[in-house]
């Protein structure tokens, strides 16, 4: 071996320095570029979502001077709210405003300015306050979705009349209402209090939201205890042999199975075999539990594995039994990690719609579910259904529903993070 003078190796190192630093700079640049692209897309996503969806949180209302005329709604002298013709009151109030609309077609168009929900609103008002009968009141009733769209400038007035949802006559009336100060944008509470509806201005996400909540309750109640128990057993108690290897491989594979397969399983087992009700959050929750179980098991096992063996040894050495080691030391230390797994699983379950297709949760369901067995949809399914609707006004409601879904997700994760922080001891 030739003996190289020390100076030469120093020169070699120094000459390579520039190249090394150049590589490092390039690598950092790529990283920065990738992050920037990601952030830009996220910003585009959020800004378009908010731009499109935020208008759905406001709804156009029309102020009408309605007379709760006893002649119309209480013809026999007694008021039967269920059968009374409240729409007639609305019609009367409208024709008072626009007496020029006399022919049948014009009156129908005039009536279509106001939502069909206006009658329900009057009925609810008189049910809570029967003294209104015979009085004259100024009330804000929701406008029809098309009027709402005109006000929000989502309908192009420049289009020829036959390509527009709103007739020239209606536009004229809307303008007049607006100049009279009878048009107001109010918070769209229907979006949060109503179930689905064919009328965009009456459609709400409450049904889907409740369906999602019921499903998630079923999912977390089933998948977290079962998943945690399975992880503890597999990690701490199960013997290492071919069977446990097989189970481990299967669990890992299950985590990657397309979610629609779990829907098929749910259909076959829970609905066809166990005869559970179709479209019910109970069945949806069961199917989503199958979906989240592998995620929770894998995360929990990782969390249990991460507990330092020295803690186990310490507990064993003072004479703790296997069970005591697990429940006194391993689980408290692994719990934050297990909760993280549960959060990931729940988030996935919340956004899942494919398995729900198979168990009949993709349906037009107007009623807000009140129990685990009532027919329901879920938020992602509702988004899909609205996105599919032809009415213009459903477009902004779709975005609004996505915002609510993301908000719900954020809230859930926040709650879980707070919970985890409380469990996680700062030693």
């Amino acid at each position: 071996m030739t003996k190289r003078p020390a100076i030469s190796s120093r020169a070699v190192v120094e000459s390579s320095l520039a190249r090394r630093y150049r590589r490092e700079r390039a690598f950092r640049l790529y990283g920065l570029l990738a992050t920037t692209v990601g952030v830009v897309f996220l910003l585009i996503f959020f800004s378009t979502l908010i731009a499109k969806g935020s208008s759905a949180f406001l709804q156009t209302h029309i102020r009408l001077d309605v007379e709760y005329s006893a002649d119309i709604i209480a013809p026999g002298g007694t008021l039967d709210a269920a059968y009374a013709d409240f729409d007639a009151i609305i019609r009367k109030a409208l024709s008072e405003l626009f007496p020029q609309a006399t022919d049948r077609g014009a009156r129908r168009e005039l009536q279509r300015l106001v939502s069909v929900g206006a009658g329900y609103q009057l009925r609810a008002a008189i049910e809570t306050n029967p003294d209104l009968l015979g009085t004259r009141q100024s009330v804000h009733v929701p406008a029809a979705a098309n009027v709402d769209m005109v006000i929000k400038e989502n309908i192009d007035r420049a289009l020829p009349e036959n390509q527009r949802q709103v007739s020239d006559r209606q536009l004229e009336w809307i303008d007049q209402l607006e100049s009279d100060g009878r048009i107001a944008l109010k918070f769209n509470s229907a979006l949060f209090t109503n179930g689905d509806s064919r009328e965009p201005e009456l459609a709400g996400i409450r049904g889907a939201l409740m369906g999602s909540i019921y499903m998630l309750v079923v999912t977390i109640l089933l998948s977290f205890p079962v998943g945690a128990a399975a992880a503890v057993y597999l990690e701490e108690f199960a013997p290492r042999n071919r069977w446990s290897d097989l189970i481990e491989v299967n669990i890992n594979n299950l985590a990657a199975v397309p979610s629609i397969v779990f829907g098929l399983l749910g259909l076959a087992v829970f609905i066809n075999w166990l005869a559970l009700p179709r479209s019910a959050p109970l069945v949806g929750g069961l199917a989503l539990s199958l979906l989240t179980l592998p995620v929770i098991i894998i995360a929990s096992r990782a969390a249990i594995k991460a507990v330092p063996p020295s803690i186990r040894e310490a507990a064993l050495a003072v004479g703790a039994s296997k069970m005591q080691v697990v429940f006194h030391h391993v689980l408290p230390l692994a719990l934050p990690g297990m909760l993280t797994g549960a959060i990931i699983g729940m988030s996935r379950a919340l956004g899942e719609s494919a398995p729900l297709l198979m168990i009949g949760m993709v349906a037009f369901i107007v009623d807000v579910p009140a129990s685990f067995t009532d027919p329901a949809t879920a938020l992602p399914v509702q988004i899909y259904l609205w996105a599919d609707s032809p009415e213009r006004a459903f477009a902004e409601r779709t975005s609004a529903a996505i915002i609510v879904l993301l908000g719900f997700l954020l809230l859930m994760n926040l709650a879980a993070v707070i919970l985890r922080k409380r469990v996680e001891k700062q030693w």
Binding site: P239, R240, P308, S310, I311, R312, E313, A314, A315, L316, A317, V318, G319, A320, S321, Q324, H328, H329, L333, K425, W427
Partner: protein, 313 residues
């Protein structure tokens, strides 16, 4: 030690005529005969005693409390402990020394059946605690570990308060009838571990917040809180500074009046300071056992001599 190390030793053995054999024979009262040895997986032209396969010195002692006879430990196919016979006396500190990987820790972990937690580990031979076989069915490992405490190389307090660390053992074994009694046990144990004065006012603070030396003393307090009969210490001072080490050594000295203590150490000085007897392990064999003074002043086996004079290890 690796195979190359083994060869090196063999070569050295060939260079010299062993002058120690006669003395060995003269001094070892009882010994494991070469006929009974197992696991001699490296055939060698040298006699067994040259490789340390036969224990020299005195494996027996007065008032033996823990007795091991022909103990072999396998980790799968790896024969980690080879035919070790050793007696450990009551109220006595015995130090296990030897180069890394020689099996001292493995041997130590046999004494409280901590090897049970390793699935591939297999132990044969007999280990008796106070005359009863600890691997027999009627003695539960949980009960055994309450009698044979252990202190580990790295301080490993639970991520709990100082109080709960010490109280954990008594709690799970139900040693205290009420809170006052538990308080008493905790205070007494901390006091005996020489930690009470430092932590008296902050018993509810996390044990992991203490310094390394304090943590190790906390671990000792946790061990003696269960009132064991034997304390095993696996290099208890290797992660500590000299001052903390000195404190632990003083503590070992004090504790040795009441407990049988087995300490694994890499420090010959420490072995000399704290122990009454020393056992030298080499490649899974127990090479030599004797009084501490004797081992360090006049070792009988060449391997022991090489180790303590710093030629191997």
């Amino acid at each position: 030690m690796t195979m190359t190390g083994m060869k090196k030793l063999t070569r050295r053995g060939n260079d010299m005529i062993p002058p120690l054999i006669d003395r060995e024979l003269a001094h070892s009262g009882r010994r494991v005969t070469s006929e009974s040895r197992v696991g001699d997986d490296t055939p060698s032209p040298l006699p067994a005693h040259e490789l340390g396969q036969v224990t020299v010195g005195n494996v027996r002692c007065v008032d033996a409390y823990v007795t091991t006879e022909n103990v072999n430990v396998f980790y799968g196919d790896n024969h980690a402990i080879k035919n070790v016979t050793l007696e450990i006396g009551r109220s006595q500190v015995i130090a296990l020394i030897g180069p890394s990987g020689c099996g001292k820790s493995t041997f130590l972990r046999c004494l409280n059946r901590m090897n049970d937690t390793i699935e591939s580990a297999r132990v044969s031979g007999s280990i008796k605690l106070d005359g009863r076989d600890i691997y027999s069915k009627e003695l539960d490992p949980v009960a055994l570990r309450a009698r044979v405490g252990m202190v580990f190389q790295k301080p490993n307090p639970f991520p709990k308060s100082i109080y709960d660390n010490v109280a954990y053992g008594p709690r799970i074994h139900g040693l205290a009838a009420d809170r006052a009694e538990l308080d008493d046990i905790v205070h007494r144990s901390l006091d005996r571990a020489g930690l009470l004065k430092e932590v008296k006012d902050r018993l509810d603070e996390p044990g992991t917040g203490l310094s390394g030396g304090q943590q190790q003393r906390l671990c000792i307090a946790r061990t003696i809180a269960v009132n064991p009969e034997v304390i095993l210490m696996d290099e208890p001072c290797s992660a500590l500074d000299p001052i903390a080490t000195a404190r632990i050594e003083d503590l070992i000295d004090e504790l040795s009046h009441n407990y049988a203590i087995v300490i694994v150490t890499h420090s010959m000085q420490q072995a000399a300071r704290v122990s009454q007897r020393v056992a030298y392990f080499h490649l899974g064999y127990l090479v030599e056992v004797d009084e501490t003074d004797r081992i360090f002043t006049n070792p009988r086996h060449r391997l022991t001599e090489d180790y303590i004079t710093g030629r191997i290890g």
